[in-house]
């Protein structure tokens, strides 16, 4: 999975490309930790994410809980199966998905 970082106005956007699975989830975890050190508003753009498993969900969920009150985590452009997984697992009710 490739993670590209981009500063946009008052937020930092992480573009994910590829698969978010048990192997790549730690990579996202590290990227999110680093991002929140730089900025308290982080958006994760999933437009090019083809696959997500529970390992990815747990990273996003734990980050959301960790920054709650101190910052904002937004998930954007989730589509296809990734969005289906979010909905089927009830993940969409936990996070800001736009």
């Amino acid at each position: 999975m490739n993670i590209t970082k981009q500063n946009e106005a008052d937020k930092l956007v992480l573009f994910l490309d590829g698969k978010l699975d048990t192997v790549t989830a730690p990579q996202l975890d590290a990227a999110l930790k680093e991002a929140f050190e730089e900025c308290d508003q982080v958006e994760v753009n999933l437009e090019n994410l083809a696959y997500v498993s529970s390992a990815g969900l747990r990273v996003l969920h734990s980050t959301h809980k960790r920054v709650k009150g101190k910052g904002t985590l937004v998930i954007s452009h989730a589509n296809g199966t990734v969005l289906d997984v979010f909905e089927s697992t009830g993940f969409s009710s936990y996070l800001n998905i736009v």
Binding site: K19, D21, T22, V23, T24, A50, Y51, V52, S53, S54, A55, L57, R58, H61, G80, T81, D84, V85, S88, T89, G90, F91, Y94
Partner: protein
């Protein structure tokens, strides 16, 4: 990354079952062997003869516990493979009740008819009381003599091969110790020998009570039977029919062959033939050990329709049985005199007669191994008719007439040759029958091993992997690609990939800090759904209960994404079935 299916998981299961199964067989055979020596030493030779004459009573009970034990074990394994827990528990309950009821009937009828039974077994006045007492005390303990070994088969099928072996081991050790007490100290006659056997089994029953009442790992449960459950009774009673017939025919064959050998070669020939018989008894520990190891595993795989798995287990069984037979044959061919000496066959005339006879006889062991494995394999895959046919051919139909014919022509060598030809012919005929059945019912079976063709159009992907993160992620890619190759794309294929990753990850997390299990994963794409069948030899887990406190656990996600999940624990293996309906294109 390659995930080619290998024999690691099933091989380790085979090895786990093999040693305890051989120990079980060994303990029974050695106990009966040493039992005989103790009876002849502590009482006299007449008592030893009486014990042999009363053997049909013991064999009758053996046939009954085979009927319920092997039949029950096969039905339960297949039901577990089909993830039909209700049927597995119903068969367990039915077989337990049947074993108890039948053994009580045997006890009552046996006590009432003890004199006619004894007359049937023995027409010698000197031996009459010895035979009667031995038979009667065995009949007194029929409940234990039947129920304990019956339950041993069930315990083994329930994933506890070591416990089942220990039950038999302890029972037989107690039997031998009690022999010394009853006949040596209390000066009992043959009734002491029978009482010692029963006492041993009473102790074994105590261990089984512990399994039934307190054993947490027990997966089989007693259930309240419905009327509809009685339909399993037929399946139960015919499941192990080949083993029952084999037990009866072994006895009939022994009587007939003894008469043929005695008539054709006299006492000298009989002494050598006894050595041949012992060789069969010895090799049986390994041949039946290998075959009995295979039976519940093949039954489970047959229920799951995992034919590649069946091939793996069957191959391992043939390798083990073949190697055991080859070692024994080589030893006999190289050192026949040593074998004869072991049984005090030392006179020059007998040695001269014995050396070629045991050498020829040893060659029959390979055929015997093949026949035994095929009989058990066909029994476990519900090909009862062919299995019983093999039993009849080698047990009576070919061996006895051939022995009669060849004994007249070549003496004892002819009898040995009859075994070689009979076993080889039976093995050839069994494969021929399988081939004919396959050719006639080509639409139903694929290949000579009579694997049933898939009834629905389905594509199959199977893999073996270790519980590692890289493998979990990699298998998801393979599953998605396989689905794509078979016309399943988009959400269904992706879900199948995610579910494969989740279950492998669940197994990995669940066995952290424990011995890492092996995993076999099978994916089937049918017209209506994608089915993931995952088997591992790790710790048992409760697949139905998800941890409400933790978010997005592997099991939670599996339950969220799958249309249905089924779990069963069989033979110490976790078996998870996950189904996803194919989304309309």
């Amino acid at each position: 990354m390659s995930y080619q299916r290998n024999g690691a998981l099933l091989g380790s299961k085979f090895r786990e079952y093999l040693f305890p199964t051989i120990i079980s067989n060994m303990s029974i055979l050695l106990a009966s062997f040493v039992d005989g020596i103790i009876v002849s030493k502590l009482i006299n030779d007449d008592a030893f003869s009486a014990v042999n004459l009363a053997e049909p009573v013991v064999l009758f009970m053996q046939a009954l516990f085979f009927l319920f034990g092997i039949g029950g074990a096969i039905c339960i394994s297949i039901a577990k493979g089909q993830r039909d827990e209700h049927k597995a528990n119903a068969v367990f309950t039915l077989s337990f009740i049947a074993a108890i009821v039948v053994s009580v009937i045997v006890t009552v009828v046996g006590i009432v008819l003890i004199d006619p039974i004894t007359h049937l077994l023995c027409n010698n006045n000197t031996l009459f009381d010895y035979v009667r007492n031995y038979a009667l005390f065995n009949i007194y303990g029929a409940v234990f003599m039947i129920v304990v070994p019956y339950l041993v088969f069930i315990v083994r099928t329930d994933g506890m091969p070591k416990l089942s072996a220990n039950i038999l081991l302890v029972s037989n050790v107690v039997n031998l110790l009690m022999d010394l007490l009853y006949m040596g100290v209390f000066k009992m006659d043959t009734s002491g020998a029978a009482l010692a056997t029963v006492t041993g089994y009473v102790v074994g029953f105590g261990m089984e009570l512990y399994y039934l009442l307190f054993f947490k790992k027990r997966t089989l449960k007693f259930i309240k039977l419905q009327k509809t459950d009685l339909r399993y009774l037929g399946e139960l009673c015919t499941g192990g029919i080949a083993s029952v017939v084999n037990t009866i025919l072994l006895f009939v064959k022994a009587i007939l062959l003894n008469k043929i050998v005695l008539g054709a070669t006299g006492a000298d020939g009989m002494a050598v033939f006894s050595v041949c018989n012992f060789t069969v008894t010895f090799i049986s520990m390994f041949v039946t050990g290998g075959s009995d190891t295979m039976t519940p595993i093949v039954g489970l795989l047959y229920g799951e329709r995992d034919y590649k798995g069946i091939d793996i287990v069957l191959r391992k069984t043939f390798v083990f049985v073949g190697a055991s037979c080859a070692i024994i044959i080589a030893a006999i061919l190289l050192f026949p005199q040593l074998l004869l000496q072991l049984f005090s066959v030392t006179s020059p005339a007998r040695v001269a007669m014995g050396i070629p006879a045991v050498r020829i006889f040893s060659l029959s062991l390979i055929g015997m191994g093949v026949c035994y494995v095929m009989m058990n394999y066909l029994q476990a895959t519900k090909q009862k008719a062919i299995s019983v046919t093999i039993t009849f051919l080698r047990g009576l139909v070919i061996t006895v007439p051939l022995a009669y014919l060849l004994a007249g022509m070549f003496g004892l060598n002819g009898v040995s040759l009859s075994f070689v030809l009979s076993e080889a012919l039976t093995a050839a005929i069994s494969f021929l029958i399988c081939f004919i059945v396959y050719r006639v019912k080509k639409d139903k079976y694929s290949g000579i091993l009579l694997h049933e063709r898939q009834t629905e159009n389905s594509a199959l992907f199977d893999a073996s992997l270790r519980p590692e993160a890289e493998q979990a992620a990699g298998i998801a890619d393979s599953i998605i690609a396989f689905c794509g190759e078979n016309g399943v794309q988009g959400k269904t294929a992706d879900y199948a990939g995610v579910l494969a990753e989740e279950i492998v990850e669940h197994i990995r997390y669940y066995n952290q800090n424990r011995k890492q299990p092996q995993i076999d994963l099978i994916c089937r794409v049918t017209e209506k759904e994608v089915i993931l069948s995952v088997r591992d030899n790790g710790e048992a887990f409760d697949a139905a209960t998800v941890d409400e406190d933790e978010e997005f656990t592997n099991l939670k996600v599996i339950h969220s994404l799958a249309d249905s999940t089924e779990y069963t624990r069989a033979l110490g293996l976790n078996n998870m079935l996950i189904k996803i309906g194919r989304a309309p294109c």
